[in-house]
């Protein structure tokens, strides 16, 4: 199994020079406690090509300001080809995300994307396990929707600090088995989301994960201890500070068995066993 870059494909679909665009916020909606779903317009040519796992880079400042300087990457949570919109799920954390969560319908956003590779569902896979932590929920929800649309079985595990920080079930397609864990036990399993994983490994053909690095580590422990063995069919979407988003600056590399790879182009999705976990 290989994760493939869909960058080239998007280009073909979309004509040239327009992956840097200005999007108008059309809708914002609070979700997962203090996070925000932000929907904005995108050029029609860009929308159909998007695949789950890809991201956009958003400039989090007004035109009158040089600070904060760099774009922030956000996974694409959803696309709407009819309305020609992208949706991202943003947790207010530092300066950029706080600014972003303050936008309202009508606000303009400078967007670069879609960028990066995507999760890859193998042809023979029928049963997919998704393991999400926090805002890692975003790309996996898009993947879950794609998969159910294609008639595949999906179990979607989500971990959060408290019940309040979880994704309301109404956002998750009915066909998906949605199971949650909270650090404080206020909803679902009391503990880490990765505690739930062993129960599904017999069933799953592939595992997809997105969340904090610590979650990947325990996921890896769990997976390596099972039948999946040496080359587990696990794909993880990693998070690195990024600048360019296109492989030009080499600021976002991940150490893999084939060298230092820019996670904005050769990722953010990597086969778990290709990454050298430090």
């Amino acid at each position: 199994m290989e994760t493939v870059s869909s960058t080239t494909r998007v280009q073909e679909h979309s004509g040239t020079w327009n992956r840097e665009f200005s999007g108008t916020v059309t809708h914002t909606e609070p979700v997962m406690g203090d996070s925000m779903l932000i929907t904005f317009s995108a050029p029609p040519a860009l929308v159909p090509g998007v695949r789950a796992g890809q991201f956009v880079e958003i400039l989090c400042r007004s035109e009158s300001s040089w600070d904060p300087l760099l774009r922030r990457p956000y996974s694409i949570y959803d696309v709407d080809p009819h309305a020609s919109t992208f949706t991202v799920l943003v947790r207010p954390y530092g300066r950029g995300s706080a600014w972003l969560c303050d936008r309202s319908p009508g606000s303009m956003l400078s967007v670069l994307g879609p960028l990066g590779n995507a999760f890859t569902i193998a042809e023979k896979s029928r049963n997919l396990l998704m393991v999400a932590g926090g805002v890692g929920a975003a790309p996996l929800l898009m993947l879950a929707k794609d998969a159910t649309r294609r008639g595949l079985s999906v179990t979607y595990l989500l971990g959060g600090m408290t019940a309040d920080a979880l994704l309301d079930a109404r956002f998750v397609p009915g066909e998906v088995e949605y199971v949650v864990a909270t650090d404080d036990g206020s909803q679902g399993h009391h503990g880490f989301v990765t505690d739930l994983v062993p129960g599904y490994l017999q069933w799953a053909d592939q595992v997809f994960s997105c969340g904090p690095e610590a979650m990947f580590r325990s996921l890896r422990q769990v997976v390596l201890a099972t039948r999946f063995g040496q080359h587990p069919p696990v794909q993880v979407s990693v998070e690195r500070t990024m600048a360019c988003g296109v492989g030009a600056c080499l600021g976002c590399v991940v150490e893999t068995r084939h060298g230092m790879k820019p996670s904005c182009v050769d990722g953010p999705v990597f086969d778990m066993d290709q990454v050298i976990w430090s």
């Binding site: 960058t7 998007v10 280009q11 040239t16 020079w17 327009n18 992956r19 840097e20 400039l59 040089w66 600070d67 904060p68 300087l69 760099l70 774009r71 400078s110 670069l112 690195r240 500070t241 990024m242 600048a243 360019c244 988003g245 296109v246 492989g247 030009a248 600056c249 080499l250 600021g251 976002c252 590399v253 991940v254 150490e255 060298g259 230092m260 182009v265």
Partner: protein
């Protein structure tokens, strides 16, 4: 965007955006316009495919190449600072040999001039790379990054010392007939003295500034943010320092000066031209707004049109009472420009 391109074609007919960055060199280095993508910020000219029309650029400078392959520094390698960023990529690159196999054959078919940025830790290694580039088609010129530790001088930076900078320049000059641009370090006490030294040693042009050395600390972990501890500061934050240094260097040397540091909008490019730069390089701003590169070309043309400036040389150094710059090499109205 397509509108802008049309405007620029229109403007091109009446004004001249071209610039010769190597008037002393028989090869010359004539760019169609003065906007160059800076080293380390535009990969090998391929990465922004589908986003930036690389063929419209005046030129681009490739990521610094070294004698041997380098896997670069451990992560994190970049972090943001107020109106700037720090990077400590650590010159990740495939090394001169793999580089030569991979990229110049592609560039050979391109219109846009490709400039190759080279880094080394000994004078001999600089010369060796220059020699190998000299034999390779597809390369328009060499940019010599002298902000590197000199192994022979215990790691003292080549770019801090006029003598060491001149030594590198002379060695590269002797190894190639290609246009040679020496990229100066802002760490020198008096950068104009270094500029004069590399001019005497045979540089066709100087470019400045490379990054300032900075660091930030993660107050939660209580450790430096960058794995490398320090990194290079770039972006709008450094622009005032860069403009000042360009101004000082352009007062001192007669070869063309290329301004680098925080260029993000038309006004920034104009500042560098007026300070004495014949062209600008754009680095960090590409990350925030890739369209800046072609927008700048259009906007400079539009500004010249609106201000009755037919040739960019007319404003180069105009803010500088003591400007010596390239006009004094190629024509004689430099004295009138203040």
């Amino acid at each position: 965007m397509s509108d802008q391109s049309q405007t620029s074609t229109h403007v091109d007919a009446t004004i001249d955006l071209s610039v010769d960055l190597a008037p002393r060199n028989p090869h010359e280095l004539v760019l169609r316009n003065p906007v160059i993508a800076a080293s380390g910020c535009f990969g090998y000219g391929l990465e922004y495919g589908g986003i930036v029309d690389v063929q419209r650029l005046g030129a681009f400078v490739s990521k610094g190449v070294t004698p041997k392959p380098r896997s670069g520094n451990t992560m994190p390698r970049i972090t943001e600072t107020p109106a700037g960023m720090l990077n400590a990529i650590g010159l990740q690159n495939p090394g001169i040999s793999a580089f030569l196999r991979k990229y110049p054959p592609i560039w050979e078919r391109w219109h846009v001039p490709a400039l190759v940025n080279i880094s080394a830790e000994t004078v001999e290694d600089y010369a060796m790379m220059a020699r190998r580039l000299d034999e390779t088609p597809g390369i328009a010129g060499i940019e010599v990054n002298i902000s590197c530790p000199n192994l022979a001088a215990g790691g003292y930076n080549f770019g801090w010392d006029p003598q060491m900078a001149a030594d590198v320049t002379r060695a590269v000059r002797q190894a190639t007939t290609l246009p040679v641009i020496v990229k100066l370090s802002p760490g020198a006490v008096e950068i104009a003295v270094v500029a004069a030294a590399v001019e005497d040693a045979g540089a066709d042009a100087v470019s400045l500034i490379n990054t300032l050395v900075g660091m930030t600390i993660d107050t939660r972990t209580r450790r430096p943010v960058l794995a490398n501890t320090t990194g290079g500061l770039s972006g709008p934050a450094v622009k005032p320092v860069a403009v000042r240094m360009v101004y000082q260097v352009a007062s001192t040397v007669a070869i063309p000066v290329i301004g680098i540091g925080g260029v993000s909008i038309l006004g920034d490019a104009l500042e560098f031209f007026m300070a004495g730069a014949s062209a600008v390089q754009v680095g960090t701003a590409i990350f925030s707004q890739p369209s800046v590169l072609t927008a700048l070309i259009d906007d400079i043309g539009g500004w010249m049109h609106a201000n009755g400036v037919a040739n960019l040389g007319e404003i180069v150094g105009c803010a500088n009472a003591t400007f010596r710059g390239p006009a004094s090499v190629s024509n004689d109205y430099a004295g009138l420009m203040t």
